[in-house]
C-alpha cells in the first residue's frame, strides 16, 4: 500500500469520525467530504472502498444506533429522539428505523432496557450493520447510485 493510499485511508477515517461526533447536526456529503479534503464523488467511492459501506449508510446507521441507545436509556419521546439524532422528519426516522431494526421505535423500546457498557463500546459494537430484523439489504447496484448521493434525512431537514 502506497503512502498516498495510507494518507487517503486516514482522511476517510477522519471523515467517519466526524460523522460519529456530529451525527446530531445537519450533515451532508459535501460537508463530510470537505473533512477528508476530497471531492464529493471521490469521497463516496473511496469511503465505500475503505469501510465497505457508503457514507450515507454509515451515518444513517450511526443515527439509528444512537436512537436505539436513547430509546433504551431515556424517557424521551420518539419524536424528540428522532430530532436528537439528526433525522429531519419523523416519517423518515420511523421508516429508516423499521427497515434497519425490523420493528418500530416504540416496539423496540418496550423490549429493551439499558446496557451496562461504556458509551464508546456501545457506539462501536451496537451500530446496526446488516439488516438486523429481516429487512432487505440495500441492493448492491443502488448503493453507489442516487441513494448514496446525499444524506437523505439531513437533506430533507435542510429543504425549505
Amino acid at each position: 500500500m502506497s503512502r498516498d493510499a495510507e494518507d487517503l485511508n486516514r482522511r476517510m477515517l477522519r471523515a467517519r469520525d466526524a460523522m460519529d461526533r456530529a451525527y446530531a447536526e445537519h450533515l451532508d456529503v459535501p460537508a463530510v467530504a470537505a473533512v477528508a479534503h476530497v471531492s464529493e464523488a471521490h469521497f463516496i467511492r473511496t469511503f465505500r472502498a475503505v469501510f465497505g459501506e457508503t457514507p450515507h449508510r454509515y451515518l444513517q446507521r450511526r443515527r439509528v444506533e444512537r436512537s436505539m441507545f436513547l430509546l433504551r436509556e431515556t424517557d424521551r419521546s420518539v419524536t424528540d429522539i428522532c430530532f436528537d439524532v439528526g433525522f429531519g422528519s419523523l416519517g423518515t426516522f420511523s421508516r429508516t428505523f423499521h427497515s434497519i431494526v425490523g420493528e418500530t421505535p416504540s416496539h423496540y423500546r418496550l423490549g429493551h432496557g439499558p446496557i451496562v457498557a461504556p458509551n464508546c463500546v456501545q457506539m462501536a459494537a451496537t451500530r446496526p450493520r446488516e439488516a438486523a430484523g429481516g429487512s432487505r439489504p440495500l441492493p448492491r447496484a443502488r448503493a453507489t447510485g442516487a441513494r448514496s448521493s446525499s444524506f437523505g434525512e439531513a437533506s430533507e431537514a435542510a429543504a425549505p
Partner: protein, 142 residues
C-alpha cells in the same frame, strides 16, 4: 498467578512521530529506547507509575514480511487496530491542555456518562485513544 500487565503493544507507522505525539502532545513519558542493529525497542508509559509500558511497534522487517507490513499499515490507517484507554483526574482540563498542544483529532469532546466523563481522540496514525475521568464517590470500585 499473574500480578501485573507489563507491556502492551500498539502499531504505529513511524516511531519518531509516535514518540513526539505520545510524549510531547499526550503527556506520557519515554520508557525504554534501545537500539539493537536496525531494531529500536521503544516504549512510553504514564508518568509516575510503575505501570504498563506501551511498546510503540512499527510494522516491518524483521518482524513482518512485506505483505503483512502493508496490511498492518492499512489496518492502522483505517482505525481498525486496537486502541488505548487512559484515566485522568480532570477530563475537561486535559482536553483544553491537549488542544493547546495542538491535538486536533478528537473523536469525542468530554462527555458525561453514569460512569464518569470521557473523551476520544486518535493518534497521528489512526489508533483510537480514550481518556476517562471516573466518577469519584460511588464508582471507586468500578
Amino acid at each position: 498467578m499473574i500480578t501485573s500487565l507489563q507491556v502492551a503493544t500498539i502499531y504505529v507507522l513511524d516511531k519518531d512521530e509516535a514518540l513526539d505525539f505520545y510524549v510531547n502532545k499526550l503527556g506520557l513519558e519515554k520508557g525504554s529506547d534501545v537500539k539493537q542493529g536496525d531494531y529500536r525497542w521503544l516504549t512510553v508509559r504514564v508518568p509516575g507509575e510503575g505501570g504498563t509500558e506501551i511498546s510503540l511497534e512499527q510494522p516491518g522487517a524483521p518482524l513482518h514480511d512485506e505483505a503483512t507490513t502493508e496490511r498492518l499499515r492499512e489496518l492502522v490507517t483505517k482505525g481498525a487496530m486496537s486502541g488505548l484507554v487512559f484515566t485522568t483526574d480532570d477530563a475537561r482540563a486535559l482536553y483544553d491542555t491537549l488542544k493547546e498542544r495542538g491535538v486536533a483529532d478528537f473523536t469525542q469532546e468530554p462527555t458525561d456518562h453514569f460512569y464518569g466523563t470521557d473523551m476520544g481522540l486518535r493518534d497521528p496514525f489512526g489508533n483510537a485513544i480514550r481518556i476517562l475521568e471516573r466518577k469519584t464517590a460511588s464508582a471507586a470500585t468500578a
